[in-house]
């Protein structure tokens, strides 16, 4: 009973990590850059949704507010790519890492100025309601998180495997110059992928906020999602999701059964272990560099 209850909670947590990790992987797959600000984009998305939905703010219906937040966040991510990231085109990969770290700080600062630093709750129709599934009581929010994640993952998988744009994105990620020669508008594709990843981050943020509260430093959760993406191998969408689930489960169970103090370390310890044993993730995709 206790076990299966924890299992549901862990999976729900893991789905949020997985979704943020999917955002990392998307950008990585298309531009080979790692967006260290993904967690902060998630936080910003959640706050925009909160602004739109909560009674004491704009008080829009939940679905409408969510859609508005997703669209807005997509636009913001697009703008970030066009205004900042694109100008780093052709510079070493590491410049993007530092830049996105700084970007994360800026987003956190902006959110702190607008919404304050106290944790706030997002009012959702799912809050506080639950149903019984055999011996386990599942919260509506947990069910919503799990279903939404499954749907999004399937959608993304189909997008990358089947659509013209998805394949163009893969081409741009493998060889920018060659992709450009065969007619892929590399810059525009990269803007699109940022917008997509911003939308995904918003959904993750709303799911995260629906399960608890949100404050400007919630973006640090992005680092746990990193662990998820690394375990999955960074270039693989299903891998990121699996990694997220693993991290969510390990964290939940470690918090319940492990000694105090050790449970926070558990996700990172697993990540380091994976990096040591399989330096390119569980689903390795690299070959020895050729000259």
């Amino acid at each position: 009973m206790d076990f299966s209850q924890l299992l549901v909670g862990g999976i729900a947590n893991g789905c949020v990590y997985g979704l943020v990790a999917l955002g990392f992987v998307l950008i990585y797959k298309a531009t080979e850059a790692v967006n260290f600000a993904q967690g902060d984009m998630m936080m910003l998305g959640a706050f925009i949704a909160l602004q739109a939905v909560n009674e004491d703010r704009w008080g829009l219906p939940f679905a409408l507010g969510l859609a508005l937040a997703v669209v807005l966040m997509g636009a913001i991510s697009w703008a970030i790519e066009v205004a900042i990231i694109r100008r780093l085109f052709g510079q070493p990969q590491f410049a993007v890492v530092i830049l996105t770290i700084a970007l994360g700080f800026v987003l956190r600062f902006v959110a702190g100025v607008i919404w304050g630093h106290e944790p706030q709750t997002l009012q959702t129709p799912m809050a506080g309601r639950q149903f019984e599934l055999g011996p386990v009581s599942v919260g509506y929010d947990e069910a919503f998180v799990i279903l939404a994640t499954a749907a999004l993952t399937l959608l993304l998988y189909l997008f990358f495997a089947r659509t013209k744009l998805g394949i163009a994105m893969q081409a741009a990620s493998q060889n920018q110059l060659a992709a450009y020669y065969v007619g892929v508008p590399v810059k525009r594709v990269s803007s699109m992928i940022w917008a997509l990843s911003g939308m995904l981050a918003t959904v993750a943020g709303v799911l995260f906020a629906a399960k608890g509260s949100i404050d400007p430093s919630a973006g640090l959760l992005g680092i746990k999602a990193f662990a998820a993406a690394v375990i999955g191998g960074f270039g693989s969408l299903p891998g990121a999701l699996l990694g997220g689930l693993l991290i969510g489960l390990v964290e939940t169970f470690a918090a319940r059964y492990g000694a105090a103090g050790y449970s926070q370390i558990a996700p990172y310890a697993i990540m380091l272990l994976v990096l040591v044993l399989r330096p390119n993730g569980l689903f390795a995709q690299f070959a020895q560099k050729k000259v």
């Binding site: 990585y28 790692v34 780093l88 890492v97 700080f105 600062f109 680092i223 560099k289």
Partner: protein, 366 residues
Amino acid sequence: MKFHFKTSYEQDIRIFEDRAKAGWYGLLALLAAAAPYLLDEYMLGELTLMLIWALAGLGLMLLAGHTGQPSLGHAAFLACGAYMEVWLAERGVPFPISFPLAGLFAGVVGALIAVPALKMSGIYLAIATLAVGIITEDVIILLEDFTGGIGGVYAPSITLLGTDIDRYADGGRPFYWLCLAALIAVNLIYLNILRSPTGRAFVAIRDSEVSARAMGVNVARYKTLAFGLSCFFTGLAGALLAHFLGAFNYEAFLVLISVQMLLMVTIGGLGSIHGAYLGAIVVVFLPQAIVRLREQVAELMGAGNASIPGLDTGVFALVLIAFILIEPTGLYGRWLKIRTFFELFPLYRKDMFKRHKSFLKTERMK
């Protein structure tokens, strides 16, 4: 404009290019040594902190700037040095022995961490070191016997040549000179490493690992060495920081500090020793400038002293973004350009420092 016509290898690897340069640096050293007589106690404290950050920056510069291995977890090694120094000092080990030992401890830990990190490159290394940086906090709290847990530890004052030295003794002057001496010593070690085969191997690894291997550089060995040396320097900075702070706990080594260190070397200019110093100046004095500016703005607006939490990091991040977009070579790179402009005047061309763009070509198979 001066032209150096080098006729021997000895001449090529000289630490100072010519007498004039040696003279300028000597003047700077004299000025730095005389600073306690020129500044008040508060500014001297800030200057001491700047020296400590510069020392830590030198450590990270060796790794990130000269070996091309970015580390997002260097606060961990700062912590190693700080806690080891306090632990040894509490057991009565004299400072001249405990100081290098603290650095050595950090260096050994760094080299041990480097062993698995060797297999990683680029972002994986950044993420793994980030994980180390995050775990640091929790590990410090868990190792309560050694680190004092959440309560933290007190650093006893240093006894050197019969006098007590700490941050406040004699207006902080002896401690300032101690930091300055340590920094100059490390800087000389650094310069000598750079002009030795070891330093050349580091730079070769930074520029291209594959080519370095092809030229006979043992990549694994030199990467480990770079990690060890870098962490050694940073550990020394940690030991000094322990005495500077007096009392500290895990909060002095949050992951934000690691990030700040990396930002420091980037703003200063990756790949140059000057960059570590310039970055440290920015890191220490920018918050001061922000406070002054805010007070003035508040006065002008007639409003009270309204403080905005997180303003420092926000402004710091914006400055960093501006640097990466406008001047990726950092403050030192900008200085080089300005100097060249005047040296060549009026023959300077706009794209003299233009770098090759590299376009992405992944090594992923699917």
